[in-house]
């Protein structure tokens, strides 16, 4: 019987982490090299964890399916990273960042985790600057900040529109330094296909070497997964082509509970769809909403081009509905508002897009200032669409972007499988039902630089886990299961391509488990997903063999897990009879269309235990809000 123990330390919220750090056991420096730790994924969380653990002296094995650690999708984050430095003297503090994040997450996050995140946020900036990350600066040479959605202070640090790139290159530089020293061994082009659990403890992983097709086994005293989110279940998302849920999902099937899978973030400022062949949706940074104004026509079925629509016939709907936050309203609220006006038939040319207009900002500040702030984003927009946003308003529409749900972890970031730690977007812990802008980078680096180095030591020193060699029957069994799965996939030899089926799954998910959900649609989704899964196992075609590079096989293996995850997302959404954050159930809304949360019944984390194909048991972790009292989340 699984027991959910969040292991939140005692004491006042501002002292929990400090006390816990003192109370945790330490591994003495000479003993650290006797411990081997596996880190899967080299994004912000994985690279920072592997580097920091390597610096401490552990023997680290780091894995990525990319050709280089630097390619992880953290690299594509544009806008910035939050930190409670209060450099702007505008009233920011650790407590305010904590408060904003709990409120922004619609009171579905664990307070203690969020407070710790806010507490270490300042150290992250110090660390990155010391590494040589070229953040934006003022003329006086000090760091510059900007504002992001869901906050009334300027606490976002940035490096032009490429903050994720610069932070990741910083973390990867620290990783490279450890690789050079020999404390980290980096394995590229390896896809983790299973976690090895022996006698209830995580003891290693099984990977596919993507160049040779070989199934490889690696053992360790503990395993960390920092393998990102699952937005690609929708096929079209802002995630990179290779982002997938496989590592986290296979861990789930080995006993790690999966929490709040229905909490997905649909980002309001993405480029609209151009056609059938579209492979992904491009994100335009939320920072654009600092100066851009979002609007649609007041008329249904508007056919005029935007510059011909007079001012009095425009509806700046975010400013109208949410006057205090306006265009900087949080992501879930802005996305839903866009859907609403498009559903009313007031989207661009009656379709699914709204305008993001810089005309007023250009008139107020001049084209040069706008170019300085957003030049590269405007260029990206023009490259993709062929339109010049200095002259014609941008067109945007929401797209799947981030997943707040993920593998359940306790305060130490350990899953329900002892020795298996989950970091970054792959875990569920900090963002509740909605993540605020510029908080993903913060969480990834907090987990990797400042949390896991402490909690890993505590696990190793307290549990003293054994080291099992890869010829242990437990490893052999799982490796052969992985090989069987590969062979089974290759033997189907049907008619439909992997992408064709994945696109169909994406449509089911977007239409029925997307921005707005209802009971009927969710039940249909579960049925549709099962049918499609059956179709896949009987009719997919995967050319080539398993003995060399086979990109179709890689994608097929990931799709296998999306069917199961998709079903659980629908099941979780069905179970949660309330609307909160990114989870909007049409049955639960106020008359004005705002989300109706039900704190009496749903003030819990839904942690699902895998119980065989299509079956899950629900465990609940009740959330205590001792400091930020749940209230209707108003941005009006």
């Amino acid at each position: 019987m699984i027991k959910l123990e969040s292991k939140i330390p005692e004491g006042h919220i501002s002292e929990k982490w400090t006390n816990h750090k003192f109370n945790m056991k330490l591994v003495n420096p000479a003993n650290k090299r006797k411990y081997t730790v596996i880190v899967v994924g080299t994004g912000l969380a994985g690279a920072s964890a592997a580097a920091s653990l390597g610096e401490l002296g552990y023997n680290v094995l780091a894995f990525t399916y990319h050709d280089s650690a630097r390619r992880a999708h953290s690299i594509a984050a544009q806008g910035g990273i939050n930190a409670a430095k209060n450099y702007q003297n505008d009233g920011d503090s650790v407590y305010r960042l904590f408060y904003d994040t709990v409120k922004g997450g619609d009171f579905r996050a664990r307070e203690a985790n969020v407070y710790r995140l806010a507490e270490v946020s300042g150290n992250i900036i110090d660390q990155c600057v010391a590494q040589g990350v070229p953040f934006a600066r003022e003329y006086g040479g000090l760091l510059d900040n900007r504002s992001f959605g869901g906050a009334q202070v300027s606490r976002t640090f940035y490096a032009r529109g490429q903050t994720g790139q610069q932070l990741l290159l910083g973390a990867v530089s620290a990783l490279n330094r450890q690789v050079n020293k020999g404390s980290v061994k980096l394995f590229t082009r390896r896809e983790m296909l299973d976690v090895v659990v022996i006698d209830g403890y995580a003891k290693g992983i099984v990977c596919r070497n993507l160049l040779t097709g070989e199934i490889e086994k690696y053992s360790a005293h503990a395993v960390c997964l920092a393998t990102g989110g699952y937005s690609n279940v929708y096929f079209l998302s802002t995630n990179a082509m290779n982002c997938n849920v496989t590592a986290a999902w296979r861990a789930h099937k080995r006993g790690a509970l999966f929490a709040n899978p229905c909490f997905t973030q649909i980002h309001p400022t993405c480029l609209p769809l151009h056609g059938e062949s579209q492979s992904k949706l491009a994100l335009m940074s939320e920072s654009l909403r600092n100066d851009g104004r979002v609007w649609v026509s007041k008329n249904k079925g508007e056919t005029r081009s935007p510059n011909d629509i007079p001012e009095e016939e425009r509806d700046y709907y975010l400013e109208r509905k949410y006057p205090s936050f306006g265009n900087l309203s949080p992501r879930d609220i802005s996305s839903r508002a866009a859907k609403e006006v498009c559903d009313e038939g007031r989207g661009v040319k009656g379709g699914e897009a709204v305008y993001l207009d810089f005309k007023d900002a250009i008139n107020r500040l001049g084209k040069k200032v706008i170019e300085e702030r957003y030049g590269n984003l405007f260029e990206i927009y023009e490259t993709i669409t062929g339109e010049n946003p200095y002259e014609v308003p941008m067109m945007i529409y929401p797209a799947p972007h981030y997943t707040m749900g993920g593998v359940w972890v306790d305060y130490n970031l350990m899953s329900t499988v002892p020795g298996l730690f989950i970091l970054g977007e792959a875990n569920f812990s900090d963002h509740g039902a909605n993540r605020l802008g510029a908080s993903a980078l913060m969480q990834g680096l907090a987990d990797g630089y400042f949390v896991i180095p402490y909690t890993m030591g505590n696990y190793l020193a307290s549990d003293k886990p054994s080291f099992e060699k890869t010829d242990h029957p437990g490893f052999e069994k799982i490796a052969s299961e992985v090989k069987d799965l590969t062979n089974k996939l290759l033997s189907i030899k049907g008619k439909r391509t992997v992408d064709d089926i994945h696109k169909q799954l994406g449509r089911i998910m977007w239409n029925k488990v997307g921005m707005a959900r209802n009971e009927k649609g969710l039940n249909e989704a579960i049925k549709d997903i099962r049918e499609l899964k059956n179709e896949f196992w009987n009719n997919v075609t995967i050319p080539g063999s398993g003995d060399d590079v086979n990109q179709t096989l890689e994608r097929a293996g990931r799709l296998v897990d999306y069917f199961e995850l998709g079903e659980l997302m629908a099941k979780d959404a069905l179970d949660r009879n309330e609307s909160c954050g990114g989870h909007f159930r049409e049955e639960y809304q106020f008359e004005d269309g705002e989300a109706k949360r039900d704190d009496e019944k749903y003030n819990y984390v839904a942690a699902w235990e895998f119980a065989g194909d299509g079956k899950w048991n629900l465990h609940k972790e009740t959330l205590d809000f001792e400091y930020v009292k749940p209230a209707i989340r108003s941005y009006k």
């Binding site: 490096a159 330094r177 151009h274 990206i380 062929g386 696109k503 994406g506």
Partner: protein, 264 residues
């Protein structure tokens, strides 16, 4: 898709003749194979290849292997030589940012992998660029451990210096500079990282040691020498400047006088 209406221009498709380099593995010989495709002008270049691959897979044939990930021009995974140009005919974009509206109906397009001794072909259009990481492992970092860093604002850096460091740091490690260079030199890549740290106050402690170590490894890996043709800068998707090469050369010479730490 059903509920997601396209806002594309809706203009007619393009008919194109593709000549794509196919190569089974690093050991087998490769050749150009012809494919005819129809594609929307709003599609990206890689989406065109996706569509071609989808058709090939439906026929049970192996798709054209190429690499890509973010499709926003920042991860540096993609990189094809298109009609003789790394990342295609337009300046300052990666292959994934190239859109089909830049091609003419009926055009023939030659698609090849990056070609350099230090970047062996893995399969079709995939190449091995791991040499870049080995260069960075040799010294592409500032040696600070996690924790214990001073407050970020204790190190003021003039805005223009930070900007210049950023320009160098914007390198995406795609390898187009090597593919563009007749000598397959990695000087632009290496100098971008050397410059980022040479410009910043945090990078001064290891400035000369770093440049010596990184250049030594770069030479060992079989990258060629720089003969100042500037083809690298012309093809760089991020517009990394050759001034960085000059800065690295200057530091490399200075290092001979200033640093005793590294034996090269």
């Amino acid at each position: 898709m059903e509920t997601r209406k396209s806002n594309g221009s809706g203009s007619d498709g393009l008919s194109l003749k593709l000549k794509i380099w196919r190569q089974k593995s690093s050991r087998s010989p490769g050749s150009f194979i012809d494919y005819d495709v129809q594609v929307s002008p709003d599609a990206s270049f890689l989406e065109m290849l996706d569509e071609l691959n989808n058709k090939l897979e439906a026929k049970g044939e192996e798709p054209v292997h190429f690499e890509s990930d973010c499709r926003e021009g920042i991860c540096g995974t993609c990189g094809l030589v298109i009609n003789g140009h790394p990342h295609g005919p337009l300046p300052k974009i990666a292959t994934c940012q190239l859109h089909m509206r830049n091609f003419k109906d009926g055009q023939t397009i030659w698609i090849e992998p990056f070609r350099a001794k230090a970047f062996p072909v893995i399969k079709d259009l995939m190449v091995d660029r791991s040499g870049f990481d080995i260069i960075l492992e040799a010294g592409g970092y500032i040696s600070v451990n996690t924790g214990g860093s001073p407050d970020a604002n204790l190190i003021p850096i003039p805005k223009d210096v930070a900007g210049e460091a950023f320009d160098a740091a914007a390198c995406i490690g795609c390898g187009a500079c090597v593919a563009a260079c007749k000598n397959a030199s990695a000087m632009l890549f290496t100098s971008a990282k050397v410059s980022q740290y040479a410009l910043l106050p945090q990078g001064q402690q290891e400035r000369y040691r770093r440049v010596q170590k990184m250049i030594a490894v770069m030479d060992e890996l079989g990258f060629g020498s720089c003969t100042n043709t500037y083809a690298c800068e012309a093809e760089c998707p991020k517009g990394i400047s050759v001034t960085n090469i000059a800065r690295m050369n200057r530091d490399f010479v200075s290092a001979k006088f200033k640093s005793k730490e590294v034996e090269v």
